[in-house]
């Protein structure tokens, strides 16, 4: 028999369709993936975020100061989240990452405006992620000419075309707005989750698929012993990956490493264990290695898109941020960037570390509950 037979093509085609329709998960993935991607890219991602949390230190409570704050608010880029009482407090807020901007209106602002002295307002931006602050910083250019337009009338109306005050912008932590400073530490989180979750998601599934699980279960080995034994080698893999990425980040990309080694080490340890436990959990849920892979992809996609790795976290709508907060990569990124770029100490990042610990505990408990010591 030779040539091209439509009947034979049909035979193969019908078989493929039937097999596909029996693999429900693959089916669901193929239909859900595009929907998920459309929703994420369409709604959640915003490369020019507005309403960024801002702290302000107003050293004089005057009409002018209030007008400046109001003008900032009207720009829609700034959302006043906190009012600092001292410069130290303001500094802490931006270092901890509570706010994106810290604005200082000096004590003699009104007097100097009235004298035509052109006083300065200091805007400190957390530029670890340059794309998060870019739009807001650009909007500041128009501020001096507009903010006080209504207040400065009569005798105070500007004599020259000069603006009544200046805005000085400090891009902190990344003054040259180098994207790599933000992306490279972030990659640590993404690469670790990609490799570790995928590798371990296959671990139990592979035993089940090859039939070795039955023998393993017939031995006296306990579930926790299987889990620890299976995951330990990957802890080493994760640590080696971390070292490689950090060395390259330093040597090739000159990523600043300001310190925060204690927090970073703890964060890396928690994140590696959490990712491995998640992979193990997936492997207890998946029926086949293919399914395990698909589930891993389903986890990794939002980890890249919603964690603040590719797009500014604060640019996302509330629901997307809520999802992002559940993803461990989000917290890990804050730890890595905080430690390397800002030199955050344990005290600054404890919330992220607690979140990572909680993830480890919950996922490990679920994995243990799901792992069956019998074939029931």
């Amino acid at each position: 028999m030779s040539g091209f037979s439509l009947t034979r093509v049909g035979a193969v085609l019908i078989k493929e369709f039937k097999q596909l329709s029996r693999d429900r998960l693959t089916y669901a993935m193929m239909l859900l993936m595009p929907v998920m991607q459309l929703l994420l890219f369409g709604y959640a991602i915003n490369s020019e975020p507005r309403h960024l949390p801002t702290a302000v230190l107003i050293q004089e409570d005057t009409v002018f100061a209030r007008s400046v704050v109001a003008a900032l608010k009207n720009s829609l880029y700034f959302e006043f989240a906190a009012q600092a009482r001292t410069p130290a407090e303001l500094d802490e807020m931006i270092r901890r990452g509570d706010v994106q901007f810290a604005i200082t209106i000096p004590g003699d602002f009104t007097r100097r405006v009235a004298r035509g002295d052109t006083p300065q307002i200091l805007v400190e931006a957390d530029a670890t992620d340059p794309s998060a602050t870019g739009g807001a910083v650009a909007a500041l250019a128009a501020l001096p000419n507009q903010a006080l337009a209504r207040d400065l009338s009569g005798a105070l109306s500007p004599r020259q075309a000069r603006a009544p005050f200046e805005v000085v912008v400090h891009r902190r932590y990344n003054p040259e707005a180098v994207t790599a400073y933000n992306i490279v530490p972030g990659l640590l989180g993404v690469i670790l989750s990609m490799t570790l979750v995928m590798m371990t998601s296959l671990s139990v599934t592979r035993e089940a698929e090859r039939g070795t699980m039955e023998s393993l279960l017939a031995t006296p080995v306990e579930p926790i012993e299987v889990m620890v034994g299976k995951l330990a080698p990957y802890v080493l893999v994760g640590l080696i990956q971390t070292v490689i990425i950090l060395v390259i980040a330093r040597l090739l990309f000159n990523v600043p490493m300001l310190g925060g080694w204690a927090g970073l080490s703890l964060g890396v340890a928690l994140f590696i264990v959490g990712s491995l436990a998640l992979g193990f959990l997936i492997s207890t849920l998946a029926q086949s290695q293919l399914q395990a892979m698909q589930m891993s992809v389903f986890y990794i996609l939002p980890s890249i898109l919603l964690s603040g790795f590719m797009f500014p976290f604060r640019g996302m709508p509330g629901w997307a941020q809520a999802i992002g907060e559940v993803i461990p990569v989000t917290h890990f990124l804050r730890v890595v960037r905080g430690a390397l770029l800002k030199g955050q100490g344990l005290g600054d990042m404890w919330r992220e570390l607690v979140a990572l610990s909680a993830f480890v505990c919950v996922v490990t408990a679920l994995a243990m509950a799901r792992y069956r010591r019998t074939l029931d």
């Binding site: 090859r210 070795t212 039955e214 023998s215 017939a218 031995t219 006296p220 074939l375």
Partner: protein, 313 residues
């Protein structure tokens, strides 16, 4: 292999009323099994009859829905962990790590069972298998017969007192099967109790006793002779040129329950001797010769299978 506590009633396996249901399918129904210590019990039954499920319940891989009893004097449910320590289980599908070498697989088993003198035990097992030279060969590259012998060595490395084998010789050539059975008998001689499921009648006859399970129910038990006698089956053996062509006509005759050609001869079996004789009477002529023979185990099992199938429907 001394200093063991005597087992109650001398039974290594003593379970009653085992039941297991998957979904709405009752796979094992009220099965009782007693195997005296040091005996080899053949576990027979058609595909899907619940043999594997029963074996898995005995070694703690599955939890019975109901039923009770002891394995090695330990409670089936409560002491599942202790039973695992003293039981060797060989799965139907080759379930060693194909990407580990022979020696590495044995070493894994030794470690997982927390054995002492691991290296010595592994070397000894390799010696016994005759695989010392091939110890660094990947397990996946072994032939079918060797794989099974290796799986047996792995399942017995921790010197279990009970060995459960699930169709250990399926798809293995006759010579390798014989070697395998010689090993099982050698282990049994050392005091090991063996429960082995199989489809091969010659293997069933190598067992000290057999248990027959069909559609989840245990329907016959005893030595091969007892099972054959208990079936009350009468079998005539027909010989002569063209006797096999009578199969169709005889099968339709009243009183004939089974007709099976064996090469150039024909086995005709039934419970009712008179009806059976009447059925073959028309063919008691040249060139055919008829003699009554002892039914084979296969005759008995096929009848048991047909019978239970009827009950099942």
């Amino acid at each position: 292999m001394s200093g063991r506590p005597a087992l109650p009633g001398g039974l290594a396996i003593d379970v009653h009323g085992l039941n297991k249901t998957f979904g709405d399918k009752r796979v094992v129904k009220d099965v009782d099994i007693q195997v005296p210590e040091g005996r080899i019990c053949g576990f027979l039954g058609p595909n899907g009859s619940g043999k594997t499920t029963t074996l898995r319940m005995l070694c703690g891989l599955l939890t019975p829905d109901s039923g009770s009893g002891t394995c090695l004097g330990l409670d089936l449910i409560k002491d599942a962990h202790e039973i695992k320590l003293a039981t060797g289980y060989m799965t139907q599908k080759f379930s060693l790590y194909e990407d580990l070498t022979i020696a590495e697989n044995l070493m894994f088993s030794a470690r997982v069972h927390g054995l002492d003198r691991r290296k010595a035990r592994v070397d000894q097992a390799l010696e016994r298998l005759g695989l010392t030279e091939r110890r660094d060969q990947l397990a996946g590259t072994l032939s079918g017969g060797w794989k099974q012998r290796m799986a047996l060595a792995t399942a017995t490395l921790h010197e279990p007192r009970l060995l459960l084998l699930d169709e250990p010789t399926a798809g293995v050539d006759p010579k390798a099967r014989r070697t395998f059975w010689d090993e099982i008998h050698a282990l049994s001689a050392e005091g090991l109790t063996v429960l082995v499921s199989t489809h091969y009648m010659d293997e069933a006859e190598r067992c000290h006793e057999i248990a027959y399970i069909a559609y989840g129910e245990l329907i016959a038990r005893g030595t091969a002779g007892e099972v054959i006698a208990g079936s009350h089956l009468v079998t005539f053996n027909g010989e002569g040129e063209g006797v096999d062509r009578l199969a169709k006509a005889l099968a339709a005759a009243p009183g004939v329950e089974m007709v099976a050609p064996f090469g150039a001869t024909l086995h005709v079996s039934g419970i009712d001797r008179a009806a059976l004789e009447a059925a073959i009477a028309p063919y008691r002529r040249a060139p055919f010769r008829w003699t009554e023979v002892e039914p084979t185990l296969e005759d008995v099992f096929i009848r048991l299978m047909d019978q239970s199938q009827d009950n099942f429907r």
